[in-house]
């Protein structure tokens, strides 16, 4: 029985890895059309996209957008986390639920809502319009990794700092921040990635000049499929690998162990 389970599990793992391998492999092909297994191996397609101004532009926008959204998310999530974990107030449960809800609500609905609302106040098809939506959906990621850091022990440390004469601000910078650092950084990485790969929000507000990598790929792929798409995609896959390893190093992805 264990053998059967093992087999299914390993096949499933293979299933999980397969498309990513195929994309990376397809990007290396020497042909003009996408072939997997690749026929011939070349890095020419990477060359092509790295010199394509539309891709470079989209990359800049995606990166800037992700960075800005992450920053604003941190500015919103840190005080919210402090308030929620340290104090009791009416509506606390509802506030937490609302702040965390974009994690489970369909982004396409949120995107539509922001489009309609933004249209009435002129907040459409520009960078701020994109920023606003991205911030709302990435804030829960930061909040989620921050909240567990504010344990009872953490609160004791802050009380001790106040007791010893430090003001609230000093306490925040000298005691709180160093302690929540790993949760903050890993939350920021989750946030950055989530924004970078997002399609469902971005499609509502992108234009020819203001485009993100995922949306550009999304549009391109519906018309023609060639190795350049695979090349761009591969770069994002490698970036994802780097991000995961970083997060694992910071907070340890030791899920699923029964120890």
């Amino acid at each position: 029985m264990t053998m059967v389970v093992r087999l299914i599990a390993l096949l499933t793992l293979g299933y999980l890895v397969l498309p990513l391998v195929v994309v990376i492999g397809g990007s290396l092909t020497d042909t003009r059309f996408l072939a997997f297994p690749p026929q011939g191996v070349t890095l020419e397609w990477y060359n092509v996209i790295l010199r394509d101004p539309t891709y470079i532009n989209s990359f800049m926008i995606s990166a800037l957008l992700a960075a800005a959204a992450t920053l604003v998310a941190i500015l919103a999530a840190v005080p919210a986390a402090i308030a929620i974990s340290r104090y009791d107030f009416k509506g606390k449960a509802m506030l937490s639920a609302l702040l965390l809800s974009p994690l489970v609500l369909p982004h396409i609905v949120l995107g539509a809502a922001l489009l309609q609302y933004g249209a009435s106040i002129g907040l459409i098809q520009n960078f701020p319009a994109l920023l606003v939506g991205h911030t709302v959906i990435v804030t829960p990621f930061v909040l989620r990794t921050l909240l567990p850091q504010f344990s009872r022990d953490q609160v004791s440390l802050e009380e001790a700092s106040r007791d010893l004469g430090a003001s609230a601000w000093s306490t925040f910078f000298l005691v709180t921040l160093p302690q929540i650092r790993s949760g903050l950084i890993s939350g920021a990485i989750f946030a950055f990635i989530t924004s970078f790969i997002n399609v469902e929000l971005s499609i509502f507000n992108t234009t020819a000049e203001l485009n993100t990598i995922p949306v550009q790929l999304f549009n391109y792929v519906q018309y023609s499929v060639d190795p350049s798409i695979a090349a761009v995609s591969s770069i994002t896959i490698l970036a994802a690998v780097a991000a995961i390893i970083l997060i694992d190093w910071l907070i340890g992805l030791n899920f699923l162990s029964d120890q």
Partner: protein, 356 residues
């Protein structure tokens, strides 16, 4: 009486008629939702004394401590230190320091940095602060560990660092929230001694929260016994033991027999409510009526259990509805075994009437 020799007390010998009040708590109450954690508590704490807040969990002692420390704000009432009302001041502006139950040492700083934290916040230069910190660490015997990380230290060592960190600021008042509860017995006894000596050496007023009566009795000048958000009695240890004011105090401190003596202590009246407190060591077991000393009162009962532990023998018996307990520093008396009919006797002078 509690085990171990009593520790020297600083007492209020300086001016017994008018000790200087450092901390005045007036009509303090604290409610959480519908739960009344502290109910109209008033207490005056004297300069230089070692006072314990003693009671079972949930009695409000920690709440009271946190109110004094400024980590909670009162629902009503007033707290004044040195005559000045501090009820609205945040913790960093009150002239006191706290030793936390879980030590709360900053894990990302060395021991020295931890202890220097207070002086730094008060404006000292780094060099000055570190000098003071080292002095404080000397006092607790940990100067050699100054550069270590708190994470790499034992519980007892962490406890002492936490103490050094609090006293380095020479606060007027030191609050200790069950600081010894995480230590094993031997270490605990040693720390009790050290804490007491430190307090006398520095002259700082200590407010010590504990649920362990032996600890409170051993270390304190006065004890405030608390229950259900109220202070039941505030007094010196011996007075609390000999003359408990309420049934709760009598039961909580040491062990107590409740015997139904009449108001004048001449006789037993079994129809009355038992308001006489008699400590187990004052109850003697006799098998023959002739052996009972003159003037002593006696109750007839049946032995339910006998234990002999650490040189102390305990005889438990049931006399009618009363459950009694006799204790002495010797083997159980001859001829007394489980099920035997015996006479439980006592000198009426040893009885303390509740509420008298």
């Amino acid at each position: 009486m509690p085990s171990g020799p009593p520790l020297p007390t600083a007492g209020t010998a300086k001016s017994p008629t008018d000790p200087m009040t450092l901390l005045a708590i007036s009509n303090l109450s604290k409610t959480f939702g519908t739960f009344k954690a502290l109910d109209n508590v008033s207490l005056d704490i004297n300069q230089g004394e070692f006072i314990s807040l003693l009671g079972p969990s949930g009695c409000g002692k920690t709440t009271l401590l946190r109110l004094i420390g400024g980590f909670l704000s009162p629902t009503s009432g007033r707290i004044a230190i040195g005559g000045e009302d501090v009820s609205a001041l945040p913790p960093n502006r009150r002239p006191l320091n706290t030793v936390f139950q879980n030590y709360a040492l900053f894990p990302h700083m060395t021991v020295l940095e931890n202890v220097a934290y207070g002086p730094r916040r008060a404006g000292c230069s780094r060099a000055e602060a570190e000098k003071k910190a080292l002095e404080a660490l000397e006092m607790v015997g940990l100067a050699a560990m100054a550069k270590r990380s708190p994470k790499a230290m034992s519980g007892g060592q962490q406890q002492r660092v936490s103490l050094a960190r609090a006293v380095v600021n020479r606060p007027k008042l030191l609050l200790l929230d069950e600081p010894l509860s995480a230590l094993d017995l031997q270490l605990r006894k040693r720390m009790q001694l050290e804490l007491k000596q430190l307090q006398m050496q520095l002259g700082i007023t200590f407010i010590f929260v504990t649920h362990d009566q032996d600890e409170a009795m051993a270390m304190s000048d006065r004890i405030a016994v608390m229950s259900s958000g109220r202070i039941e009695q505030v007094d010196e240890a011996a007075s609390i033991y000999r003359r408990p004011k309420t049934r709760f105090v009598a039961d909580f401190i040491g062990e107590a027999n409740f015997v139904p003596v009449t108001g004048d202590r001449r006789e037993l009246d079994l129809s009355q409510e038992a308001r006489g407190v008699l400590r187990p060591e004052a109850l003697r077991i006799f098998t023959r009526a002739e052996d009972i000393p003159e003037g002593w009162l006696s109750l007839s009962g049946q032995v339910t259990a006998i234990t002999y532990v650490g040189g102390l023998s305990n005889v438990y018996l049931k006399a009618g509805d009363l459950e009694l307990h006799a204790r002495r520093y010797r083997a159980p008396p001859q001829g007394v075994s489980e099920g035997a009919q015996v006479l439980a006797c006592f000198d009426p002078a040893e009885v303390h009437i509740l509420g008298a």
